[in-house]
Structure formats: C-alpha cells, structure tokens
Symmetry: C2
C-alpha cells in the first residue's frame, strides 16, 4: 500500500451549539480541512458519529454531509465503534487512500449532544455497553469505570488523590486551546473536593460532553505539494483491535488488551517503540482510562500509571506528554468526534502549532481512541518530515 499524508485539518470549538445542526458542524470542520490544504474537494468522505440517530434524528450521515460540503455523488459512509467512531472513520479513509481505491479522502468526526434531554443522551451512550449483559442490569458507563477505578486502587494501593495530576494537567493544557470546552486551570483542592458521581469517580475524573466536529484530509504522500509552512505529516501506523464488550467477560478487567494489541501492531508497523513517541493523545474519558492506557501501551509498568503522572512526566515538558490540548477531560468529549480531535491535535503538535503547550521537537505523535469501556481501540502514529 502507498504511504498517506494528512495535508489539511479543521475543527470547531467544543461547546453548546444550539444554532447549528450536525450538518453545519461537520461542514465547518470539513471545509476548514479543505481550505487548510488549499483543495476544493476530495473523492470520498468517512464520517464518525455515534448517537446522531437518537440524539439528532439523523442517521445516513455520509450522504447528509457529503452534499453539504460540495461532494454530491462522492462515496460517503458513516462508521460507528462507540467512542472510537472518529478513529474508525480515519482508519477507513486511510485504507481507501493507501490502497489506491480513492486518491483523496476526508475523515470527519461529529457529535451534537447538548440540545437533547440528558436522560436521552444517557440512554444513547449506554448503547456502547453490552445491552444484554450490562445495560439491562443497570450498569452505566460511569459506573463501569467507577468499578474499575475502585478495583485498581485496591489492587495497586493508590488513593483517589493520586489521580489528580491527570485532571490538573489536562485542564492546565486546555487553557491554551481555543477549541477546548473548559479553558480553566484547576487546583488539587478543586480535584479532591469535586462532587462525587459514582464512588470513587468525581466530576474532575470525568470528561464533559459537548458539540463539535473535527476533520482531516488524506492524500497519497507522494502527491503532497510543497508547503513552506509545515513539514509533511505522514501516517506511520494504523491498527485496530477489539475485546469482549462486557467488562466482566475479560480475562483481566484492569488490563486494556485491545489497547495493548493495537499499540503493539502500530509500533511494529512504524518500527518504533514507546520511547520514540514524543506525545500521546490518549483517551482520558475518565482518569482511570488514562492510567490503564499508559500501562497497556507500554509507557508505564502495570499499576504504575499514577506514578508517571505524579512525577510530572505527562506534562508537555515530560517524558510522555498527554492531553496536550486539554484531552477529553478539558478539551471535551463529543463522542463520535473525539478520535478526530485527537488526530487533529497530534498533527497540530507535529506542525509546531501548539504555542504554550507545544511539545519541543515533536516528530512522532500517537493517538489512541477507545470505544466502550475498552472494547474497540484504534491506534494511529504520525510522523513529521
């Protein structure tokens, strides 16, 4: 397969969008990615979205968005893998271009959550868990993550306060991201005193919902025109793996096997190891997921994720910077769009466009998007130059 480069990116600020439909949001991100690349159109569009069918009464997002952005008659499909739908869309666009099936493709993630009743959104999000074996028993996502966090604290001897650096780092970085949902730093006290949601998870452990869209334009690397502004950003690896949908059915609920498998495949494709990765946009939907991700992908020993955070190694200046634009926690987590925000942010870092949270000499960046409580995990690695 041929090498692929990302030559355009676009995103909308994550916030409450009462005046814009899914179509308008996605359109803004897509048109921005085309403008960024100086292109008028692409051969196909791949849309990541999870709850449009119930929250916005709109499925069929391929055709819905394609026509709006001037791509009527183009191939257009909608991919869904719960919270990793964005990365699934990117991976489909990537394979289409890498294989030669298309000569250019746009991947866009979009979600619009805030103008539906909260109960409807909770019901819609619960469809990412196992309807037969989890949801029907009353398990929601936050409860599943609370059970994991409690067990993790018990197994490895950490206190709730030990997780504070994940949230503090994310919020500190989000301050400098104009597209972040929350642009306010938080203190250790704010973290420890936040309202409890599901013991031990409190409001500062959980990522906020939001409305937003992010897009990227992919073309064969050998067709990239010279752009004096930026180095060429190549896709160095793409891998996806699943695990049992129901958490209770996994061999070890505290080990994200799908994260490990997709990351290992990605490292192998790119001929890299964790120490070659300059920054890692991971899926910190909850603090516990940030910890488990760092361990499964080889950045921390088992049970030692909080140590990395407590030592300051996850900050932009640390050994493995995460959530450099605010992460899910502060940038926000518009479900089906999140994976595309992660990818767009990695590309911003590799372009050197991240101002105060720029990772120095960033050349290799990784994005990992998690669907469900660890059941569908997609890893991408990007290289500059």
């Amino acid at each position: 397969m041929r090498e692929v480069a990302v030559i355009g990116i676009g995103q909308t600020p994550i916030r409450e969008e009462w005046e814009k439909s899914l179509r308008l949001l996605a359109g803004e991100a897509v048109l921005a990615s085309l403008a960024d690349a100086g292109m008028q159109r692409a051969d196909g569009i791949f849309v990541g979205n999870m709850i449009g069918g119930s929250a916005n009464n709109q499925q069929h997002l391929g055709a819905y968005i394609a026509d709006w952005v001037g791509l009527r008659y183009s191939e257009a499909v909608h991919l869904e893998t719960a919270c990793s739908s964005g990365a699934a869309a990117f991976r489909a666009a990537l394979i289409a271009v890498a294989s030669g099936e298309l000569d250019s493709a746009i991947a866009v993630g979009v979600e619009k959550m805030t103008d539906s009743p909260g109960s409807e959104i909770t019901t819609a999000l619960a469809t990412a868990a196992d309807a037969n074996w989890e949801t029907d028993q009353g398990l929601s996502f936050v409860v599943l993550n609370a059970l994991l966090m409690k067990r993790y604290m018990h197994e490895h001897g950490w206190t709730h306060e030990d997780f504070a650096p994940f949230s503090i780092n994310a919020h500190a970085n989000g301050v400098h991201n104009p597209n972040a949902r929350f642009r306010k730093a938080i203190t250790l006290e704010a973290y420890t005193k936040a309202a409890l949601i599901a013991d031990p998870i409190n409001l500062m452990d959980a990522s906020p919902m939001g409305d937003g869209a992010a897009a990227a334009l992919l073309v064969p690397a050998d067709s990239v025109p010279h752009d004096a502004r930026y180095p060429v950003i190549r896709v160095a690896a793409s891998a996806a793996a699943t695990d049992a949908l129901a958490v209770h059915d996994r061999k070890d609920p505290l080990w994200l096997t799908a994260a490990e498998k997709s990351a290992q495949q990605a490292y192998q494709q790119a001929t890299l190891t964790p120490k070659d990765i300059d920054l890692f946009e991971l899926h910190d939907a909850f603090s516990i997921m940030a910890t488990l991700s760092l361990e499964a992908t080889g950045f921390a020993e088992r049970g030692q994720g909080p140590r990395l955070a407590l030592d300051g190694e996850i900050r932009p200046s640390g050994r493995i910077p995460i959530a450099t634009r605010g992460g899910l926690k502060a940038r926000g987590h518009p479900i089906g769009a999140t994976g595309m925000y992660q990818i767009v942010e990695v590309i911003q870092q590799l372009r050197g466009d991240c101002g105060q949270t720029q990772v120095e000499n960033a050349r290799v960046g990784m994005a990992q998007n998690i669907g469900g409580s660890g059941s569908n995990i997609i890893t991408h690695i990007f290289k500059a130059g």
Copy 2:
C-alpha cells in the same frame, strides 16, 4: 489491489425473531459463512446495521458481534448508510482484503425490527431521510416514494396496474426461497386490490420489514482452496456513489443518478456492459424503486422499466432476471441486512444453487443496494469461475 473471492455465505430466515438478539442473529449468519468455507476465523468483521441503536438499544456492533463469533481481539467496525448499510459493510471488507490490510474478512448485515413498537421503527427509519428538510416536514419514506411513483406515472403514462409484474415476479420467486419472509405467490387481482398505504403505493408495492442476518466471507482469490462443489466466485467490481439526501434537491427526482454512477463505475471496473449481466438483485423496496433502478443502470430506457416487467423479461428466464429469491418485496427488507442478502443471493445463483428460480448458465451477477430514497447507492458485480 489483489483480486478477492467470496468463499463462504450464511443467512437466517427472515421472520419475526422474538427469542433472538441482534447478537444471536448475526452470529448464526457469520458462523454459517465460516462453516460454508470450512474456516474457523477471519481477521476482521464489518457489520452493516441501521437502527440497532434505537430499536435494540445496541450500537457498537463490531465488538458486540466479534466476540460472540470467536473473533475477540479482531478488528470490528459498524458501517451505516441507511438501507444500503449491508453493501457498505461488504465494500469495507472488500477493500480491507483487496488492499492487503487483512487476509480475510467477514461482512455481515443484521437488523431486528419486529419486537419494537411500530411507531419507534417508523421514527428510526425516518432518520435515513433528511431530518432538517424532509422528516421535520412530515415526509416519511413511503410518502416520498408515493410522490415519486405518482410523478412517474404522470410523466410516462403508466397506470398503477402496469407495476404489478414487479410484485408478482418477486412473490413467485420467493415461494422457492426457504429464507423468504413471504413464500406465497400473488395474483394480479391481489396486487390491484391490496390496501392503499400512500396513493398510489399499496401494500403490494411495499417491501415488508423483518428480522434477519446475512454474511459473506472474503479472502484473496489466489488463496482459495479447491472446492469441487462450486466455481470460485470473484468480486469483479465495487462502486459507491451518493446524491442529495433530500429528494427535492436533486436535479431530476425520477432519475437515480447515484445508481447510474455506481453502476457505470462498476461496469468499467469489470469491463462489462448491462448485456453481460445474467441476473440483477436490485433494491425493490417499492415497485417504483425497481423501475428507476432498471433505468438508471442501463437495462431499460428512461420511463420504460414497466415495459420490461410487462414483457416478462425480469423473470428468472427473462433477459434480466431480478428479485430471483423474492427480492425485498417477498424475501423481506431487514434494512441493514438487505444488502448482504442481495449479495448472498447473487452468489447462490452463481453457484447454481437456486433450484426452481435458478437463472440458467448464470456466470455474472450484480447486486445494487440503495440507501435512503436514492441517496447512497452501492453496486457490486460478481463473476463465477
């Protein structure tokens, strides 16, 4: 890209399935396709489904189904393009194998519609139309198709009775398909006297919903083991095209431009013309869609689809047999599964396994799956031997 063959197929009977979840239905079809090929597993699974999120409280169907069929840890994604979700899943599986990204893949379409309240299903199906410009104005699918049929009759001078052969042929063929929802022949009188749904569409113009799953197993053609039972069935072409989602926004509502474009691309890929196609599983969700499909794909002149049917040319012995296993009208139309039923049926024909509705010397078969009222259309051509 490398050539791909379909070496295993599986399907469940389309009916009301009160005892089986989406997982069980999809699992039956997938495991049947593996058994048919004598294989234990595949590298990835691509799921076509439209309304699982609302009708069955289950999204995230990739991981949901992968684990169940023994493919835990494999790549697994869900694709959605409304009523053409099945073909979208097949096309994604095809590109994954053709490109070398995977060495084997399963495409499965599944839908479970009958144990939800009818009003919920109507609402869920309406998400295939344009929420902003159609659904919010009260337009349902049957109404959109009724407007098209009425205009078509006016423009081209046909009466309602002239469409009867589409329904009569589908039901006559469905009698011999053990998996068909309706296995009962109908008369001209039954057609003309059927209850009106939305003038001029009556119950015999409309395809029935149902629960079901159909699957196919794809591998590189050069890896196919010798199977004395069947010729090798190769995928000769695959193409997808969209059109404006809202019907009023198309240049000509009576011409399926996306059907024409995807068929033309497919003919070109396979170096074939319509006269080389031995049978055509088209998307007869409504009689008017069968007519428009035949015209847009080059089997009938504009406005002359009913003539082909009245002349008997759409029967298994005719010039271009359609709905050879009952079509959407009699086999049934479990939305996200339909595209995969069409493909499985084409393969049954090319294997010579269709008994009384076998098309003689069938060597080249085409399947075309329509999403929305003509807004996302995917065409596949298969060749035997």
